[in-house]
């Protein structure tokens, strides 16, 4: 027997409290359960009588994908119910409301835009790492944890690369939210993680300018215009936006996914290293393209049926444009080792041509001692190391936007390296190890600690022992 949700209803031990939200496709209820402590919400799809395919399939998709995701960037699933009595999905209740209200207050100060941008990119990176493209990122689908991490909700349009795409099998029309939907998604391609990058770009644009890059189209025809009509450059709307941020935003909003920032990790990397973002024509753009350019583009794009497909696996797409972190010791007796590390980085670049390289050097400080930020001597060491690091990395011959240089300091170099690798979402760390010595065998080395504790692949470069 089918039941409808209402306050006081009991189902599978859950008791419905007040209705928190009523959307087009579902209602959200506060629920309690004697066996599940903590605040929870129940999402119940609004199934109209008769043929209600989109709602049912969207719910099925979410029911299939969400329980497989873990980590702070998704709501934890508690239980789900099927259509026999009442379809529902119970998850933990996140504090506050969606970010929709916050976006309404845009434009935000640039510093706030950057912090939010980093959090959004970290969230999207976490989803892509778990085989999922969200495909409906928008302010109303973002919530925040108490610690600040963002959480993606509503996976009704999402795609998991190891599960059947029930939506593609069911519908022929493009699905998404019009202001944020990517051009390839409009062309019904549902397998490209760069569609989420586009939505990130649209949200950053909105945060920085207070406007939507492509307005608020009400029909599909209006959505299609973004295939040829470029948005107003953010700096033309808000002169406080720095050129590098405009570069990041417009690069994420490129029409062809191949021209976009390739991964969320790369966007995060750019937002972490603003002074090292490679500035192109996008950063310098002052006004929209002229009518003639747009007309020519329209003629070309209106014939386009699809963009070049990405590799089939989302994880493979994410790893095509990886972040390599090269940690190098530049002291004189380590010269030949640093040359070998350089060669190891070159080898990696040969097989992963889209990679970015973060060159890192650590200054070991004593627990009680110079404060690197204020002490004059410390500052001097810092600058000297940075100069040396740049000279070392320049030998890679990479353009500005593909390589960054960071000098870190701390009493425990391994911990500093591990923390930095996590922050920039490095896929792979390359570092050297000294030759064997009795002391190291007993005390342990920096490299062995990094190998043991880093959350990514680590390559240790060593000079073979003579003989």
């Amino acid at each position: 027997m089918r039941v409808r949700p209402q306050t006081g209803l009991e189902i599978d031990g859950f008791t419905l409290g007040e209705m928190l939200h009523k959307g087009g496709f579902a209602t959200i209820w506060e629920v309690t359960h004697p066996d599940h402590p903590g605040p929870m919400v129940m999402k119940v799809p609004t199934i109209l009588d008769g043929d209600d395919g989109p709602t049912i399939v969207g719910f099925e998709v979410e029911q299939m994908i969400l329980p497989r995701l873990t980590g702070p960037h998704v709501p934890r699933v508690v239980a789900s119910g099927d259509f026999a009595r009442m379809p529902y999905l119970v998850t933990e209740r996140l504090p506050g409301a969606s970010l929709h209200g916050l976006f309404d207050t845009a434009p935000l100060p640039v510093a706030d835009v950057v912090v939010l941008g980093r959090r959004m990119a970290a969230m999207v990176h976490a989803l892509h790492g778990q085989h999922v493209i969200h495909l409906d990122l928008k302010p109303a689908n973002l919530m925040a944890r108490a610690g600040g991490e963002l959480v993606a909700i509503d996976f009704g349009l999402a795609r998991h690369d190891q599960l059947p795409d029930l939506l593609a099998e069911e519908f022929a029309i493009p699905m998404g939210t019009y202001p944020y939907i990517a051009p390839e998604q409009f062309l019904r391609q549902r397998d490209d993680l760069r569609s989420d990058i586009f939505a990130l770009g649209a949200m950053l644009y909105q945060l920085a300018t207070g406007r939507l890059p492509f307005g608020q189209p009400e029909r599909l025809r209006g959505v299609r215009r973004r295939l040829w009509r470029d948005p107003e450059p953010p700096r033309a709307l808000n002169p406080e936006i720095p050129a590098w941020l405009q570069e990041i935003i417009l690069r994420a909003l490129e029409v062809d996914p191949a021209d976009r920032t390739q991964t969320a990790a790369q966007m995060l990397f750019d937002l972490e290293h603003p002074d090292q973002v490679e500035l192109t024509h996008r950063a310098r753009k002052e006004r929209r393209d002229g009518l003639w350019t747009v007309a020519r583009r329209r003629w070309r794009m209106s014939r386009l049926r699809g963009f070049a497909p990405p590799p089939p696996l989302i994880a493979a797409q994410a790893s095509r444009a990886p972040v390599l972190m090269a940690a190098v010791d530049l002291s004189p007796d380590m010269e030949s080792l640093s040359e070998r590390i350089l060669q190891a980085v070159r080898d990696q670049l040969a097989v992963r041509p889209g990679a970015r390289v973060a060159c890192v050097n650590v200054i070991r400080t004593h627990r009680i001692g110079i404060d690197m930020a204020t002490d004059e001597a410390g500052n001097h060491i810092h600058i000297a190391r940075l100069v040396a690091l740049k000279a070392w990395g320049a030998q890679l011959g990479l353009p500005e936007g593909r390589v960054t240089f960071t000098v870190l300091d701390g009493p425990d170099p391994a911990a500093v390296l591990i923390e930095h690798a996590g922050r920039i979402r490095a896929d792979h760390v390359l570092m050297g190890a000294r030759a064997h010595s009795a002391t190291r065998r007993y005390l342990g080395s920096v490299s062995s600690q990094v190998v043991a504790e880093a959350h990514c692949s680590v390559t240790i470069v060593r000079i073979p022992a003579a003989g």
Partner: protein, 246 residues
């Protein structure tokens, strides 16, 4: 409980033992065999003995068309299959022949139905090769999960609340959740004679607790099976098929 579904073993000892080893490493709680234990392959006696052992230990087993053809020479088979069955028949001791002849056409376990070919008229041995061919199976049973074999290529279908049937591309090795809002039909890949271009033994794991299916493939010594097929004087096409998996 973890249920391993094996089908179309076809007298391939190397493939069956590789699958049984793989199951042993995964704490499988129950075996289901969807028939065609014999036919095509060079080790029918060994394979029937293994399946009989499994049945004695609680496994469910249904009959396939090749199993049926041992007692019924009138069963409709292509010339290669017929040559192999005619080679197989005199090798099987009476006890094994009785075992094959006595197998049922369908079996049920919980809310799952097991059958060799289409659940619609199982004795007609209809291949479930597309959405059109899958639909009749959903129509003859209320089972939430139907598992069959016979096609020698893994496949997955679902039937939604409105009775529409969809084909889904199965991903080898990935856990596929069986949405409670649909009914499901899985075609398990062949243990002994895969035909999808992957020369590895195929089988299916059904996790009743997690409500998930996994299509698995296991590498085995195809060269040894091919050598035995040739030594037995069976048609060369069978050796080539085992080597290429198609």
């Amino acid at each position: 409980m973890l249920i391993a579904v094996l089908t179309d073993i076809h007298g391939n000892r190397e493939a069956l033992s590789a699958v049984l080893d793989d199951c042993a490493a995964r704490s499988v709680g129950r075996f289901v065999c969807l028939g065609d234990i014999v036919g095509y392959g060079p080790d029918p006696e060994w394979c029937v003995d293994r399946v009989r052992d499994l049945v004695a230990a609680g496994a469910v087993c249904v009959q396939g068309n090749h199993d049926s053809a041992i007692a019924n020479p009138g069963e409709n088979l292509n010339p290669v299959a017929r040559a192999a069955i005619d080679w197989t028949r005199p090798r099987l001791p009476p006890g094994q022949r009785d075992f094959l002849a006595g197998l049922p056409l369908v079996a049920e376990l919980g809310d799952a139905l097991f059958v060799h070919a289409s659940a619609h008229n199982p004795g007609d041995w209809i291949y479930v090769t597309g959405e059109m061919r899958a639909r009749p199976s959903f129509n003859v049973t209320a089972a939430r999960l139907i598992v069959c074999g016979h096609v020698h290529q893994p496949a997955l279908y679902s039937c939604d609340l409105r009775g529409r049937v969809y084909g889904h591309a199965p991903r080898i090795g990935a856990a596929m959740p069986l949405l409670p809002s649909r009914r499901w039909l899985a075609v398990a890949g062949a243990v002994g004679q895969p035909r999808d271009g992957v020369p590895q033994a195929g089988y299916l794991l059904y996790d009743t607790a997690a409500n998930e299916l996994v299509f698995r493939r296991v590498a085995y010594d195809t060269a040894e099976t091919a050598r035995k097929l040739r030594a037995a004087g069976l048609p060369e096409a069978l050796a080539l098929r085992v080597l290429a998996g198609r």
